[in-house]
Symmetry: C2
Subunit: 286 residues, 2 copies
């Protein structure tokens, strides 16, 4: 496979993640091509200097592609992998930025032989969406999970690593099912908590205008990810349903236990579990 | 009452909140006196230039005080208000920084006549504790709730406002029960969610070393307040028990509803509630 610097890289979908990746890759490969559904998105990506070329035409974009990165919602990626399978140039590296990997890896496994698939998932983002929010530094310093398939060649994995490192991220090779289980707790569950917290505030305090004046740091931080793109999150929750439900079950059990201790005024037990939580949180970020 | 610039202000308890308030008030009143249990804390507050005077002796500290601010955990404040009632100079303004107000206001109401009590609660903080973490800008830009009692004079409320404004915060007068109900959802519930989330991560992912490499922004933000001081939080939860339990009930209902929709693959309903949550979150911070 060619070195990254000589590659024509096509980014399919110019939202926050795709637009940021395009901008971060510009100048680090031969050409960055943006493929989007709407002309307006292409024009905006050009204005923001995120792409070298842009088009709404799949054939034009994919012609001569060395690397194709799907940066659309998970189930759109699955559909596009099927629709575009015959247009992907033989020998090209096909990657994606989807947050759940099991269904995407299954679809990638169905690609024609000659294509080199590599599932990937960058552990970064913002609670905003759209190309206007793109930041060329979005990937800098983040972990970028790589899930190679059995069919993925060493050369393809090496090129995938090179792309990840080119945008300032750290590659981490993980099995797809294992990554899905981890992000269920570390990313998808926090999203559900944020949404349920916002609804709780809406039900219990939003009739009081003082609520908006006093909203404190705890609420702001815990509710932040509720602002994430709904279409993206819906695909994530539906394609990682089993792992998310398992994490939600464990969470409900731990939450009920805490609440039960408050109800029973079981202060010693409560102090112990709160101390344990505090120490665990600190250990994670030490 | 004297103008703030002429006041001797005693801060009882030099932790994160008391130490920061002391430092922010220095130079804006006649003298800032720190009262702490341990000499070591006083020495550290002096080194950090947070106080003009420091002592472990209540009598020395309170002699000639114009303003006394209790900056200890909620139930310690309640106990100290009783213990020190007879040492508080007649005519002095007595404030506190406790996060829940009902029990403190009740204790304040029992102070000798001649004392001017004013419950207060600054809506700021950090997930760390101790005088070493004090920041003179901690209060800058935050809302600072004032809960006057029936017996609080206009002059005392005016002096309380002046102190709040002197540290860069915005005063907001609220009824104590109303403030307790609001912070149950906006501050105490997020803390419980953070603790239960940390325990969930511990139970589901901490056996996997990759977990600590990939922990993403959502998890970091949602779990942040789990690092709060346990003694402080325990007092808060126990003195705001009814309101916290009510908020927790509403949360559990909303969370179960979300999880039920994922389980049932009720995508339309899920999309609707996630969109609603997103818009509510945005409305709050617009």
């Amino acid at each position: 496979m060619k070195p990254l610097a000589d590659c024509r890289v096509v980014i399919v979908g110019l939202g926050l993640m795709g637009g940021s990746l395009a901008g971060a890759l510009r100048g680090r490969c031969r050409t960055v091509v943006g493929l989007a559904r709407r002309e307006e998105t292409i024009a905006q990506a050009r204005r923001l200097e995120l792409i070298d070329e842009g088009t709404t035409d799949e054939e034009v974009a994919l012609d001569g592609a060395d690397i194709v990165v799907f940066a659309t919602p998970v189930r759109t990626i699955v559909a596009q992998l099927r629709e575009l399978a015959d247009r992907l140039p033989s020998g090209s590296l096909v990657m994606d930025l989807g947050s759940t990997k099991s269904e995407i890896l299954r679809a990638m496994d169905g690609l024609p032989s000659g294509i080199e698939p590599l599932g990937t998932h960058p552990m970064c983002g913002k609670e905003t969406s759209g190309v206007a929010e793109a930041e060329v530094d979005l990937y800098r310093g983040c972990s970028f999970i790589l899930c190679p398939l059995d069919r993925t060649s060493d050369a393809a994995l090496t090129l995938g690593r090179a792309l990840v490192e080119a945008v300032g991220a750290t590659p981490l090779v993980l099995d797809g099912a294992r990554q899905d289980r981890l992000v269920a707790t570390l990313s998808h569950l926090p999203y559900l908590l944020a949404c349920a917290l916002v609804q709780t505030a809406d039900a219990t305090t939003s009739d009081d205008p003082a609520a908006w004046t006093i909203v404190a740091g705890g609420y702001r931080d815990t509710s932040r990810v509720a602002g994430s793109d709904v279409r993206m999150m819906l695909d994530i929750l539906m394609t990682n349903r089993d792992a998310v439900l398992r994490s939600a079950d464990v969470f409900r059990d731990r939450f009920d236990r805490l609440v039960g201790m408050i109800e029973a005024e079981a202060e010693d037990a409560l102090a112990e579990i709160l101390t344990y939580s505090r120490e665990e949180r600190r250990r994670m970020y030490r």
